[in-house]
Symmetry: C2
Subunit: 199 residues, 2 copies
């Protein structure tokens, strides 16, 4: 996301002049996006259930680690998806641990291995190790948008997920996600996570 | 936002084939964006305070009404901002009433008149009637992105606001907002509103 605080707008409002944005992710490459994502993150997530009109808050710690492309687990995932390991551009392991405001005694935790396959410079597939909910691991389709947003669409049996992730500062990621009905016509849930890097 | 559930991805995951998206806002014009925004909306908003690590939930009713360009109030705002009323493309009145989970006895309400001025086809200024917090009404800079997202940057004395609003379905708007520090380097708050049209 580009910070577009222009001096012209500030002056016309009589406000103190604002410096033009110092941080822009325009043109960010997917490898850079993944590399900058490596680290420990403190996450706040708000989820909206549209049909039932309620919100949920989840606080988590997220760990993102680099995984070498010759790692056994990476090769195994490529094999499972009948994908040439040479097309894997990068891989990460994500682990999380958190609690929801619905039940603060229950710890929500898990981890997954993600392998990024490039079909084009700014587009490809994301292979994932088996999740806890689905019987068949889902393959996502990713694109890097011109403004540096990483977009991932993942189909499931009766729904699909759309995630949009971008850096608002070098140490903060924002993730906006939607779960849509199978036809794409309805949105079941919408979520926003703000993730602050632990330095 | 474009629904990009592809059959290829669905098949590769062994999932039931998903229809390609039926709703896309690619190429949406700003006049259409404003016109489709007219109506009554039920809003859920989650705000994240990044510095203090807490979240807030607000439930509101939002009313958006069309205002004719020859309305006295529109002419008055144009005059206040020394703007030729002929450059005003559309105007709306927004009113809201809601409660926060921090104090459900307090009603948060207000209204504002917004006048959209076009400087270019997909870019211009948004003039606003005086708000409740600032002494000087703020002028925002808006752009329509290629994917149909309306982006508004509004500078304030010691901060700036960035809002991104788009339709996820014809009857649902999503609004993601950030309050940034004056230099743009830090994000103070991030919010997501999901707004469902009351039919």
């Amino acid at each position: 996301a580009v910070v577009r605080c222009s001096e012209a707008a500030a002056k016309s409002a009589g406000a103190v002049p604002v410096q033009t944005g110092v941080y822009s992710t325009a043109g960010m490459k997917v490898e850079e996006f993944f590399r900058d994502s490596i680290g420990s993150w403190r996450s706040m997530r708000s989820s909206h259930n549209l049909a039932m009109s309620f919100m949920e808050e989840v606080n988590s710690e997220i760990e993102i680690e680099n995984v070498e492309l010759d790692d056994e687990a990476v090769l195994a995932i490529c094999k499972q998806y009948e994908t040439d390991p040479a097309t894997a551009a990068t891989a990460i392991k994500m682990s999380w641990e958190g609690t929801s405001d619905w039940d603060e005694d229950e710890v929500l935790e898990g981890s997954t291995l993600l392998v990024l396959v490039k079909d084009e410079e700014a587009k490809g597939r994301l292979l994932r190790s088996e999740g806890y909910a689905e019987t068949v691991p889902a393959v996502g389709e990713w694109t890097m948008e011109a403004d540096g947003t990483f977009v991932l669409i993942t189909p499931y049996e009766r729904a699909s997920a759309e995630e949009r992730i971008w850096f608002t500062t070098p140490n903060m990621r924002v993730r906006v996600s939607f779960i849509r009905t199978q036809t794409g016509e309805g949105v079941l849930t919408a979520s926003m996570s703000t993730e602050i890097r632990e330095l």
